[in-house]
Point group: C4
Chain length 317, copies 4
């Protein structure tokens, strides 16, 4: 993972302008998060992205009447005008940012065709396209959702927090177990889904209504049930189906708690191993409890405190 980070860093440095000046300063502010200005830019960008996502989300609420009519660009209600103004404000902001990014990198074309370059373009394009082309409001939403991906751009903010790494690390270390677990879950889901389909639909379907209309539907039920989500849109209606699904629930519950235990255990050992405070100055034993005064192996004082010695035989005369 650290080599992956290095690769990203090296790829970035290729884009950093060699000569110091406005372009290099701009590059550091826009692409890096080490300086206060760079961090401020990132936070501002995060706020703008979140605002734009909130706008896109709220426009889809039918009762607000913000769904753009495909035949007229300017919306009618006063609330809709505010939304329209705000959105164009953000679009222009993102456009300026995009142009600045193109300006300050060493190889603009390379950036424009990189993953983030395309995402940046796609997040502003739909609004401009809407002026020229008359397309349905629905497909409009799909295009603008690309904007969501930009949230990840600011994820570098998280790198400042050491905790994110630790979390990612714990998940990463458990990856093999997670794969095994997913395989077990899928087999369990297939078997219990098929079983419930047989019982509810094939055997009892002529006597009762059945929600288990097909095996994929039953597998959907099995996943919804085993994860204890339990929507209730697919439920057994026969007595035998209820008994078997109750047994499957208990089994599935036992199965699904295992990965919880794994992640928890992984984190426990990590936290225990990270308790490296107070290395002993004499013998170098690394782990001591917080509050320890003496090394618990060699008895040497951990800190050269000016306090008197605690007990008589510890101060030999």
């Amino acid at each position: 993972m650290s080599t992956a980070t290095e690769k990203v860093l090296r790829r970035r440095l290729i884009q950093r302008p060699a000569e110091s000046g406005l372009r290099q300063t701009l590059y550091d502010v826009i692409f890096e998060a080490d300086s206060p200005l760079g961090r401020g830019f990132d936070i501002g960008l995060l706020v703008a992205i979140i605002a734009s996502i909130v706008l896109v989300s709220l426009e889809t609420v039918p009762e607000y009447g913000l769904q753009r009519d495909p035949n007229s660009e300017v919306p009618v209600s006063s609330l809709a005008i505010w939304f329209w103004v705000l959105e164009w404000f953000l679009t222009i902001l993102f456009t300026i940012e995009y142009v600045l990014r193109l300006y300050c990198v060493r190889h603009p074309l390379k950036y424009a065709f990189s993953f983030w370059g395309i995402v940046d373009l796609l997040s502003i394009l739909p609004n401009y396209l809407a002026i020229f082309v008359q397309y349905s409001a629905k497909s409009f939403v799909i295009l603008r959702s690309v904007r969501l991906l930009r949230v990840f751009r600011v994820l570098k903010l998280w790198r400042m927090m050491s905790q994110a790494d630790e979390l990612a690390d714990a998940v990463w270390k458990s990856r093999e177990k997670i794969i095994v677990f997913l395989a077990v879950v899928l087999v369990a889901v297939t078997i219990s889904g098929t079983l419930m389909y047989q019982i509810e639909t094939v055997l009892m379907g002529q006597y009762h209504d059945s929600d288990f209309t097909s095996i994929p539907q039953s597998m959907y039920w099995a996943i919804v049930t085993m994860t204890t989500v339990g929507y209730g849109d697919v439920v057994p209606h026969t007595t035998i189906g209820k008994i078997i699904s109750a047994a499957l629930i208990l089994l599935g519950y036992s199965l699904i708690i295992v990965p919880t235990g794994f992640v928890s255990a992984e984190l426990t050992s990590k936290i225990a191993g990270a308790a490296e405070h107070h290395p002993c100055p004499q013998c170098g034993l690394p782990n001591h409890r917080s509050g320890a005064v003496h090394c618990d192996r060699c008895g040497h004082r951990l800190d050269e405190a000016i306090l008197p010695e605690p007990a008589p035989e510890a101060t030999p005369t």
Copy 2:
């Protein structure tokens, strides 16, 4: 956190009457919980507050017919009369308590305009206002809910239980992880909510009914699903929506178990650190790591072993 407690203590002492006498005794009983009388007062207050909350709650049950008619203060049914009597009894009790609090503090005005002073006043005011002003029964309920906040006043009872601190501490230590986790959850919720909206409404909306009427609705679905609550008021209706939501459920489930693991791990290391092995024979410090040779407070050897030195190469001649 301990400095915060100290600050609270100091602020309190400012209010404690200097001269001993009735006022100081009253102050100690009402504001402190150290003496048996003070603890008794707190428990009595807790019971009264809970009773008053139960009354306010039950009055809202429509089938009991206790909703006060805005045009007549005195209710009609015999059950309602009992409620009315009990509530006035509690209101008068809280009024006496409020007057006594004003009486025994050093600076009554300072108390009256403090947070708890305002809460205390607001919890009795609605009942008195109801005599003079004729307002709707609905808004009446809102005002009286302020009473709920008074429960926190008696939370000082919990300070007696050392466990509450430990619990709060474990949550507090995990705060950064919780923030990171919430950020991850919100990004996951936004992306999966938008994805389901696209699939269920934009792509398949013309063929099926869709519960995913807007992106905020879809994000509500994502939160309800990821936390495994699963009401079932918003569910996918298309086959492709079911497949994708099943995948999202498994992903979301994997994601949401991580904080469980963190809190669990934090608590494990806390409890493990408090394990009682190897009490020091000299200073009596109870907790040492397994494997510790010297007491980590006074440096004394933990066991008076008569054994020779561990290994030959460790005793240089």
Copy 3:
């Protein structure tokens, strides 16, 4: 807890017949589980109790037509006759058992009026009463449910399994934390329930239908939601209600995972503490990994194995 067990034991010994003979042998078989015969009796009793519970349960299923008609004692369908026969067989078995218990204890009256004596009587009485008295089938079910309590009688079987104690111990040790946790949950439930009632019914009730008909109903919703059960019979219908309930779900979820962590941590430290294998014969260090050959403090061999020394410098000449 061990003193409680002792008390139970002493109380039992009071009932044990002093003189050896048939009565004492019977007592040991019926009341104790130490001998093979006593254990066999307990297992047989467990099977009979479970069978009788299954019978009582299945009789309430309307489609089997086993609900006894209050006007005729003997049921009609052939399935019902089987049930009727089986139930009288079990009733007579329990009657014999009850009489034997009365016969073999030292003070029959003391037993007859003890808790288990009354439960034993109540579990057979309804069937006999049904012959003489004509009462409704419904109240019949209530009386016969007392039989359920008898399951606990055989719980002494569990004492054979050392694991049950450990489990009970882990729960017992966490009891203070559980009380604090329940208090926090109840406060959270009251506050979030009232909040949702205000928003959904008081504020928005005139525009939408509301499931939050009263504060107790809202508190029921809060408990069902926070424990992630999520029936879906009470759900928010307004946009603002959905946003707030989504926030409350995330908060509640964070709150409710804490006790999971506590129990998990308690058990972890318990299991870690129970890993006391391989005490060192030289320095007495108690905990070594399974598979350890040398004490990891003094280097002494843990077992006097006849294997040659692993490495040359460990065998000084």
Copy 4:
């Protein structure tokens, strides 16, 4: 468990042809997974089995119109023809595999009547039978579901992943606790199910509709609720039923988190025991407890510290 594996290995070796040649090579490829070819065969088989399961599953979706008409073997829609072709392709593949298995084992009859032999036969038989016999499409599905069992045949692939063993081991070690836990759950389910039936149906059934139509139905509700699945198809309708079910939910939740803790704790102690500190400089044993001074296999000092002996009173003169 390792002896069980050995037993399986020995049973297999009985079937391995003694003389090297085509049969032995085929045997190693088909039955073993040690060689690259054998592993490739297993992965290919896994893909074929998954494909065949997906086919069987999708055929049950009513909207695809793939349910075979019992009166005509060849389906009509072009999609159905593709399914028909693919399925026969897989059936012929499995037939070849079955014949090869019969050919290369030492005792073909012994294999044919072994568990896996019968499963292999049953997974291809339904398709051939369908040509001669005209039976209902429904029962057809049941027979073909046997195919699912074949997934387990390829589970030997998992043996390559060491993680699966560890997971199985953790579950296995907790088996006694799981049995105790299941017993507790079943008693809790029976008692709370009966209680809710009494309250909702027997006591309040004449005033409200009740979902708790019988005790088994109530026990189904109890399991669905305690595991926090919460479908919502059975919910309390009376106020008293809601209060009691809320209390039962909290109790049940507390109960059901215990096994999570157990598995988690078991895994924690396992992982903690495997932590990689202090590799031995002499024999290279990687895992030592923090605080270990000597390697616990060869007794060598773990660190070549040049420090004086820990504390004065520990060096007797």
